[in-house]
Amino acid sequence: MKKNLLTIVVSALLAAIFVLILFVFQVRQSEVAVVTRFGRPVRTQSEPGAFFRLPPGIESVYKLDQRIQSLEDPFTETLTADNNNLLTTVYVGWRISDAAAFFPKFKGGSVIDAERNLKEVVTQAKAAVVGKHPLSDFVNANPKDLKFDAIENEIKAILQEKIAANNSGIRIEYLGIKKIGLPESVTQAVFDRMTADRKKLADKLESEGLAEAQKIRSSADREAAQKISVAEGEARRIKGEGDAVAASYLPVFEQNPDLARVLLESEALETTLKERSILIFDSRTSPFNLLTGSFTNKLSK
């Protein structure tokens, strides 16, 4: 009995596995399944899990990647509204939004086929939008005049319109400009202009530096002279104070001008004869007049 029970259980398990393989299919988190019956799509399943199906031969299950796919269109040249040749590449994030519409459009729901088709549409939309804008909408120091985001939104809007008209079952998640450039022949002209600008800037820096240095020097000379002249004025004032004090003593000397003169003259004499002086005096000069009639005088007689 026990042996029969084990056999029954194992047999039942094997049968269950067989049934699962034949009648059940799984949809993973990032997938959407398209179920066809005798080649005709009958339903789609986008929620993950296990689902019932009829055996192969009657129903077939095609699993499509529902994740956001990334594509870049070729680096193509377009004339802007102000006749500048501009090369651009945009990147697009897209995904399958309606598997039932997508599957019949592209053989076997091929993402590669869908991308090939989408690239052409993206390039057309891009050319249409770039041609409507001047170069200053792509590069501009004024944030209000820079139309970068607006250009991207315009391309995205045209793309979504065309996709919707085509009923491709695709949704554009995001779009952005990835790269811009100028034709090789134009870069030389840009380099020449940049070189001239740099030379102009270099000359300006040098001359500005010299002029500013000159200003600093002349300002320093002026301020120094002013400082000295102010100090000179102050020195005169201080000396004037001394003169005023000296003048205040004048009444003292006015008591006897003769005595005052003698004292001043004798002081001057002392000061004059202090250094490197030769003094020649004769017998009339006091106190040397005491030597008159002395031995030397007797000889000279």
């Binding site: 084990l6 194992v10 398990l13 094997l14 699962l20 393989i21 799984q26 993973r28 990647d65 994740r67 956001i68 990334s70 990147y91 994030g93 993402v111 590069v139 501009n140 970068f148 995001y174 952005g176 400009i177 990835k178 790269k179 811009i180 450039g181 090789e184 022949s185 380099f191 940049m194 740099r198 820096l205 040098e206 530096g209 500013e212 300002s219 320093a220 301020e223 002279a225 400082k227 000295i228 100090a231 102050e234 000396k239 001394g242 006897n256 004292l263 004798s266 002081e267 004059t272 004869l273 202090k274 002086s277 020649i280 004769d282 017998s283 006091s286 106190p287 030397t296 005088n297 000279s300």
Partner: protein, 354 residues
Amino acid sequence: MDSGAQAMADALKSSFGIVKFVMSGLFIMFLFSGIFTVGPQEKAIVLQFGKPVGDGEKMLLGSGAHWSFPYPINEVIKIPITEVQEVRSRTQWFLQSAVQEAKGEIPYAGPTLNPAIDGYTLTADGNIIHAKATLRYHIDDPRRCVFDFAGKGTQQSFGLVGISNAVLNALDNALLHASGLTRVDDVLLDKIAFQDAVTRRVAKLVSEQKLGIIVDQCIVETRQPRQLDMAFQQVTDAGQKRGTALTEARSYRDKKMNEAEGNAVARINTAQSERNAMVAKIRGDASIFTDNLASYKRNPELFLQQHLVKTLGTAIAGVDYKMYLPTSADGKPIELRLNLNREPIKQGSNETKR
């Protein structure tokens, strides 16, 4: 039952026994096949009938041994997730190999730029620069990052290639946008501000596109085209010359002002000293005058004589040469010849040459 039938029955019985043994073994193997290990630089996500088990961080299984029902019940997805992810944008940079980049070598540049080979971007004033960036981020929403973004050629497989591409596209766009808004001198000289502008744009795109990541760091490098290195060097040199000229001028100003300050102070000090000396002298003179006035009034002639003699005596003591000329006997004037150049000329002295 005859012997043949009996033998058949016995053979079938043993066969069934073997089959049962094999089936049991297969069943046990089936169960054990659910054991899996996750490496240190990996995380694992278990899909049960295609649906992830758990939410947010709980969805990710860390390193170690785990068990789940084997396929087709469960499916284990292993993803190489490190703490910090990194993408590098070189779309706006000139062609440079990884080896050259590591060594810091700048490859030779032709006269122009082929936009298909050498990447660059345009600044707000229509100039050309090269820019590259390295963005470091970590995954904030693993469900979004793993299950919503497909990389090229990764159909039916899971990983981080898709989200990495999406982040890289955002970074490329941010470099373009930031440079298109900034003048060439600001891009090249105010690198921090430019880097901040790129980081802000990336953060904005990450938020708008719901990429499920958090930006940790964005490092941006910019340079002028290699063809214009000399022209830009001229500007740098001119800037340095300007700086030198200004430094010298300021140094001259400091020296001049210090000298003037010293001179001014010296003049004032001299004036003060002279004033003080003058005041002290005049006071002294007044005092001498006052002290001698009474004596002078008593006998002016005698006072004068006395004072003169005293003065002469003091003065003569300090005189270098004193000569007494006696009166000639015949009363005629005496001729006196003097050699006034008394000091000998010193050999090699600049003072005497002056």
